[in-house]
């Protein structure tokens, strides 16, 4: 049987973490599933968790007045969804919607924030990893704005 602990310990995102820290993280983890079309979170709501996507596909959307929701990126298997739980004021900046049946591990952000305050080594390790996720999202957004396939480029 695949335990949550093993799945998380083997995930590249958590690579290099102490067994002790993995234990702390697993204490805040739960398996979740979302049906196609279901919202995982919505822009403006409080951000109190993040997800390790195991199967499926999730669309990150922003709401554009007059146009409705616009997908700016999709995330799939193995990717990390959500970083707003770690950065005050802990509100989501996007909608996340399952495009198809999606299974994930949800990590309770409130629980993790407390553990990070208690154990700054854990806090620093998580911050380093999430800084990388934020950088990836920024880079992807930047490339989209550049219109990389356009005629002028």
């Amino acid at each position: 049987m695949e335990t949550l602990e093993r799945i998380l310990a083997e995930h590249p995102f958590f690579a290099g973490l102490d067994a002790r820290h993995i234990q702390l993280i697993v204490g805040c983890a739960a398996n979740v599933r979302f049906d196609a079309g279901q919202f995982i979170f919505r822009e403006g709501e409080e951000a109190n968790e993040f997800y390790v996507i195991r199967h499926g596909k999730v669309a990150l959307e922003i709401f554009v007045p007059g146009r409705g929701p616009v997908t700016i990126q999709t995330l799939g298997e193995g990717e990390i969804l959500g970083w707003s739980w770690l950065i005050p004021p802990y509100h989501w900046h996007f909608n996340a919607r399952a495009v198809e049946l999606t299974r994930a591990i949800a990590l309770d952000g409130r629980c993790l924030r407390v553990k990070c305050e208690d154990d700054h080594d854990l806090g620093y390790e998580l911050l380093k990893r999430f800084a990388h996720i934020v950088e990836q999202r920024l880079q992807a957004t930047r490339l989209q704005l550049l219109d990389v396939y356009g005629v002028h480029s």
Binding site: T71, V148, Y149
Partner: protein
């Protein structure tokens, strides 16, 4: 080298701004053979001559296939041509994709927009010798679902067990249920062994620059990443100096280069 007359045997509209021409020689003057990644100079009589990559199957050189995107004077005139019209062809020119050198390795093909056209012959070549390669992965990014080239072919390839095809668009429109994001976002999760991979990348230069960086982040060496530098050309044979960069002529030393060789060129806009 004088252009040889070719008759348009088929015109196929791919997307709103791209079309494919199939050409057959007006006079039987021996067979035309080319390597994947080579280009021809196509001459629209009375308008001008432009370099366009050959996008057909190198195993079937009887028909010359070119896919062109309309950007300016010559491509606009070319789009108006019909079946039966004649154009001039010089070629083939340039260095090809390293399809032979890649044997025994995984192959990752990263295409952006019209960049899929010059890479298609490499895919035809590889798929006709499939047993010689490890994993073969095609990562393709287009602006919107309507801009996706070779739709039917992509779905046939996707149904194949020995080729992994991933398509993503910048902007989802209509009922698109696939991936959204630029093509570089596909690189971290694509199934290939970076230490044993040859990557072939073609698209606008920004896209190639960021794809090469992302491939290197995954661990692909700069000598195993190949790009096609499709900048303006005139003579295509290293005479006019139009495409010269230091000692390098993009037309005859390229358009396909290992990344290391053109890395610096990617941040210089005009030659």
């Amino acid at each position: 080298m004088i252009p040889r007359p070719y008759r348009i045997s088929r015109v196929h509209r791919e997307t709103a701004d791209t079309f494919t021409l199939e050409l057959t020689p007006v006079q039987e003057d021996g067979t035309f053979s080319f390597a994947p990644g080579q280009f021809n100079m196509l001459y629209v009589f009375g308008v001008g001559e432009i370099p366009i990559s050959i996008s057909g199957d190198p195993g079937n050189p009887g028909t010359l296939v070119h896919t062109t995107r309309v950007v300016g004077t010559v491509t606009r005139a070319m789009r108006k041509l019909k079946r039966g019209d004649v154009i001039g062809v010089r070629g083939p020119f340039g260095r090809h994709w390293p399809v032979t050198e890649a044997e025994g390795n995984d192959v990752v093909i990263v295409a952006g927009g019209i960049g899929l056209a010059p890479l298609r012959p490499a895919l035809f070549h590889i798929l006709s010798r499939r047993e010689k390669y490890g994993k073969v992965v095609l990562l393709y990014g287009a602006r919107t679902p309507e801009d996706i080239l070779y739709r039917n072919q992509l779905s046939r390839w996707r149904a194949q067990f020995d080729l992994e095809v991933y398509v993503t668009v910048d902007r989802a429109t209509g009922g698109w249920r696939g991936s959204v994001g630029v093509v570089t976002t596909l690189i971290p999760r694509a199934p290939f062994d970076p230490l044993n991979t040859v990557a072939m990348v073609c698209g606008p230069e920004v896209m190639m620059r960021f794809s090469a960086l992302e491939l290197q982040k995954r661990g692909v060496g700069p000598d195993n990443i190949f790009l096609s530098m499709e900048r303006n050309m005139k003579c295509a044979v290293g005479f006019c100096g139009h495409c010269q960069f230091g000692p390098t002529f993009l037309c005859k030393d390229g358009p396909v280069f290992p990344y290391r060789r053109v890395k610096d060129l990617l941040t210089i806009w005009e030659l």
